[in-house]
């Protein structure tokens, strides 16, 4: 009885240098995959290209009418907006980040969720989209102080900087309480 063809294939002698080649391959240091984060919303604010996790950037809306609040509106707190039947405080991230009014266009509104049921509206110039599991990149030219940011991402030729959500909300609360 002859051996099956498959056994003959597996039992054949190793090609010369195969063992060394395999050893070298296994010994080689694996290149670590670049760190990736959860989905982020990319948006523009004047000259800044910024990002926020989708859990924080709760919704994107057309520009909403802002009702001024006596004695309060004018700085970071712009006023009140109505979103899905709720009245929300509207704040200016631009003013918080010292982006001058001339540099901004306020074409969209981000509805930010600080915690469940605690929403803020904030105007932005444009929403560039949502990036799924974006790859972190190293950026030497961060446009803001380090404590504002928690990472940078490449999106095409542009680099977007993720705002540190905890710091952002802390500053919004300080400036508007």
């Amino acid at each position: 009885m002859t051996q099956p063809r498959s056994s003959r294939l597996f039992d054949r002698p190793l090609p010369s240098g195969y063992r060394d080649e395999l050893q070298a391959m296994l010994a080689a240091e694996q290149q670590k995959p670049a760190p990736r984060d959860g989905s982020i919303v990319l948006f523009r604010l004047g000259p800044l290209r910024l990002a926020l996790p989708v859990q924080v950037a709760f919704a994107i809306s057309p520009v909403l009418h802002v009702a001024r609040i006596p004695h309060r509106s004018g700085t970071v707190l712009l006023g009140l907006v109505a979103f899905r039947g709720e009245i929300l405080p509207c704040c200016s991230i631009a003013r918080l980040l010292d982006v001058t009014q001339e540099q901004t266009a306020a074409a969209r509104m981000l509805i930010l969720q600080e915690s469940p049921g605690r929403l803020w509206a904030a105007s932005v110039d444009a929403v560039a989209g949502i990036s799924m599991s974006p790859e972190c990149v190293f950026s030497q030219s961060a446009p803001l102080a380090a404590h504002w940011l928690s990472g940078s991402y490449a999106n095409g030729e542009d680099v977007y900087h993720r705002l540190d959500a905890a710091h952002l909300f802390r500053q919004i609360n300080l400036a508007t309480a």
Binding site: P70, A82, G85, Q171
Partner: protein, 768 residues
């Protein structure tokens, strides 16, 4: 849709159940004391204590399990014929007090609260146990309708913290109330006299109550928001229908022109058909949209009506209060409540409890005479205290009426004279109703001595404040020797109010109708500095609403201007828009109290609209705002002006400084601070940077440019923490630049001490 309760902790759920069952226990116990015990009352009491015991066991509140078990035992014994006497009722009410107290404890503090009170709760429960017969035969009964053996819980039970709790599934055997024998009676022997408490209830008064579902307040508010949004969407649909109709007419015209130039009969027919189809579709859309709008309107009103609760829910504690207070004062008082099913807004109901409690206590303490005195006056020894709620002309009216001694107007007159509250000739001419008005003054009391209950002059002003805050009023009438009536008039709901919409400073605002005295287009008189408008033969100072709201200084235009009269002032607006009915939304708590603003709403287009607080605006117009100069202070402590548009930061700084002995005044923005600085003397200015109207940098720059203020020490406290921000602040003239992000009490206070020194004495200069 969920109720929102899934987010509640088990303790929250226990708390809700306890609230309901304690209400049942207290009201039934009071009824029990007033009349002969009925099997229905005892059954309700046992059911309530049993339910509470089960709930307490689930959340592991052993002490409460023991207490409710002891209560349940006592009710079972009462059902067997061992009557509840007055001491028993006292003990049982004390037990419900523990349960009520526990409801108020935060979940995190429950364990320590129970530890602290375990002994007292145990003693309360042991009080019932001491009353139990020492030995009773063990009886395990076979319930024909139940697979489990039924165990008499008071007989077979494990010891829970010193007293018994049943170990088996509790199905206490119940004897007919009339049967005073200790022999156990099998359940189901006589269903008519002894119904199984675990069976669904029959036609008793509980079943007659409304079926209710629990819904958290947040979830309910969310329903209101969504229904309002539905209404807005429905109205927008109707608007689009109108637009389509206009387009249809325009297309029809254009087609007519095309038709005139066309020789093709087929084309004409086709065009005519398409226009007809479009017209039909628009008509259909119109019908659907109108039906949709009606439904949305009904939905909105139905949801809003859900905020209305029966008056009885807000007064559950009053019978108990009357019982305890009259007993303490050795008086005999019977309370009669009518109109219990009157619908009252949930918010108003919550706020009614304290004023009503005060009025009731007041009536018993001040109004009702001791029994002997009543008999001598030809009255029954037992006084009547009647509380009635009802709707009158779209308002909620609550009266608290006693048949006591009434209020002596001459006693009030004498008190007014002694306290020098008005000129002597005015006091002499005061009418009876005018004299009664003095009762609502803070600190005014007709009593020379104080007691635990009254005579401290605290209370009636609180009743009045509550009524006014809720958009209502309180009035008192009294007949000497016959009794006193307090009449609270309140809106039925705070959820929907009628308003006048006005434009001020280019922004729309709404003013509650109940706060408007008069509207008119009048030309202000007098000089430009102090314009006045005359209405009702009275001169009213004219105030520009936009200016007082901080929306910019606006000069009055020449000629007649729209004026809104309220609280003795004429508020000039850009224009009156219309009147409307708005659903009231509370302002976001993150915003704190906004001067001059009471609440918010959405208009018919879904845009936010602020509802003005006219009382606050009148106060501001009269020169009594926070802007007013600080009260004179002769303590010698350094005076500090704190400026920040964040009320949280402002208050935090104020408390910190006051606690350290400084005298503190506050302002909300640079402009307000600048006004105060020009009017008063301060030793230190502490300012934020980003503020409306005038920034901190602008303020500091002005201070440094002013010869009198140029040497005033200044601290900037800002959330801006970049080097350039610091530089900007220091270059403007600040002595210190501190950041809120790295705020520390000690470094803040050290900076203050460095600039103005230590305050000589602690805790001076105001309330922390």
């Amino acid at each position: 849709m969920s109720s929102g309760l899934e987010d509640s902790s088990l303790f929250d759920l226990f708390r809700m159940e306890a609230e309901e069952q304690v209400r049942v226990l207290q009201s039934e116990l009071i009824q029990l004391e007033e009349g002969a015990p009925s099997s229905r009352t005892l059954e309700a009491l046992m059911r309530a204590s049993h339910s509470l015991k089960g709930a307490a066991r689930i959340v592991g509140l052993d002490q409460v399990v023991g207490l409710t078990h002891a209560m349940e035992d006592r009710f079972v014994a009462a059902q067997r014929g061992r009557a509840l006497d007055s001491a028993d009722i006292d003990r049982l009410l004390s037990a419900t007090d523990w349960l009520a107290q526990l409801q108020a404890v935060e979940e995190a503090g429950v364990a320590s609260w129970l530890d602290a009170n375990a002994e007292a709760i145990g003693a309360c429960a042991a009080g019932f146990e001491e009353q139990q017969p020492s030995v009773e035969p063990i009886a395990i009964l076979e319930d024909p309708g139940c697979e489990q053996p039924v165990v008499q819980p008071e007989i077979v039970g494990e010891q829970v913290n010193g007293w018994r709790a049943p170990t088996l599934e509790e199905k206490p055997a119940i004897e007919p109330a009339a049967a005073a024998t200790s022999a156990p009676v099998q359940l189901g022997d006589d269903k008519t006299s002894d119904p199984n408490i675990f069976e669904p209830q029959g036609r008793d008064d509980r079943a007659a109550r409304e079926r209710t579902v629990r819904l958290t307040a947040d979830r309910f508010d969310s329903l209101v928001s969504l229904s309002a949004e539905t209404l807005v969407a429905a109205r927008q649909l109707a608007t689009w229908g109108d637009v389509l109709s206009r387009n249809h007419r325009a297309i029809g015209k254009a087609l007519q022109m095309l038709e005139d130039r066309s020789d093709s009969p087929e084309l004409r027919a086709e065009l005519a058909q398409q226009v007809a189809v479009l017209a039909t579709q628009i008509s259909d859309l119109d019908q659907v949209s109108r039906a949709n709008e009606r439904t949305a309107e009904h939905l909105y009103r139905a949801v809003l009506a859900g905020r209305l609760r029966p008056f009885s829910e807000g007064i559950a504690g009053l019978p108990r209060l009357v019982r305890d207070t009259s007993r303490e004062l050795r008086k005999s008082v019977k309370i009669e409540i009518t109109g219990e099913s009157t619908r009252v807004d949930r918010d108003i109901l919550e706020r009614l409890e304290a004023p009503l409690r005060h009025l009731v206590t007041n009536a018993i303490d001040h109004g009702v005479e001791p029994p002997a005195q009543r008999l001598a006056a030809g009255k029954p020894a037992e006084a009547r205290l009647r509380i009635h709620a009802g709707h009158e002309n779209g308002r909620l009216v609550i009266t608290v009426r006693d048949d006591g001694a009434g209020i002596d107007p001459e006693q009030i007159r004498e008190r007014v004279r002694r306290r020098n509250l008005a000129p002597a000739e005015t006091i002499a001419g005061l009418s009876h109703p005018e004299l009664l008005e003095f009762l609502f003054l803070p600190g005014f009391s007709t009593r020379d001595t104080t007691s635990l209950l009254s005579g401290r002059g605290v209370g009636l002003d609180v009743v009045q404040s509550m009524a006014q805050e809720a958009g209502g009023a309180v009035a008192v009438t009294s007949t000497l020797g016959a009794g006193t009536v307090f009449r609270l008039t309140l809106p039925v709901t705070r959820s929907v109010i009628r308003v006048i919409r006005v434009m001020a400073g280019g922004e729309p605002f709404s003013v509650p109708m109940v706060r408007i005295d008069y509207l008119a287009h009048l030309e202000p008189q007098g000089n430009a500095e102090k314009p006045e408008a005359v209405w009702n033969n009275r001169r009213h100072p004219v105030v520009v609403l936009a200016s007082i709201l901080g929306l910019g200084d606006r000069a009055l235009p020449k000629g007649p201007v729209p004026l809104l009269f309220s609280g003795g002032f004429a508020f000039a607006v850009d224009r009156f828009i219309d009147q409307a009915e708005l659903s009231v939304r509370r302002l976001d708590a993150r915003l704190g109290k906004i001067p001059g603003v009471n609440a918010a709403s959405l208009d018919e287009n879904g845009l936010p609209l602020l509802i003005l607080d006219m009382d606050d605006l009148v106060q501001t117009a009269a020169g009594r705002p926070s802007l007013a100069a600080p009260q004179s202070d002769d303590s010698g402590a350094p005076r500090i002006l704190v400026v920040d548009d964040s009320h949280t930061v402002r208050e935090m700084e104020r408390r910190l400084l006051v606690r350290s002995g400084y005298t503190v005044a506050t302002a909300q923005n640079g402009q307000e601070a600048w006004n105060l600085l020009r009017l008063n003397e301060y030793d230190l200015l502490i300012s934020d940077v980003d503020m409306p109207q005038m920034t901190g940098i602008e303020l500091v720059t002005r201070v440094r440019a002013n010869p009198r203020l140029s040497r005033l020490p200044v601290i900037i406290l800002s959330y801006k923490d970049r080097v350039e921000d610091r530089t900007r602040g220091l270059e403007a003239g600040a002595d210190f630049y501190l950041t809120k992000g790295s705020f520390e009490n000690n470094s803040f206070l050290q900076a203050v001490v460095d600039l103005v020194g230590v305050a000589a004495q602690q805790h001076r200069g105001g309330q922390p």
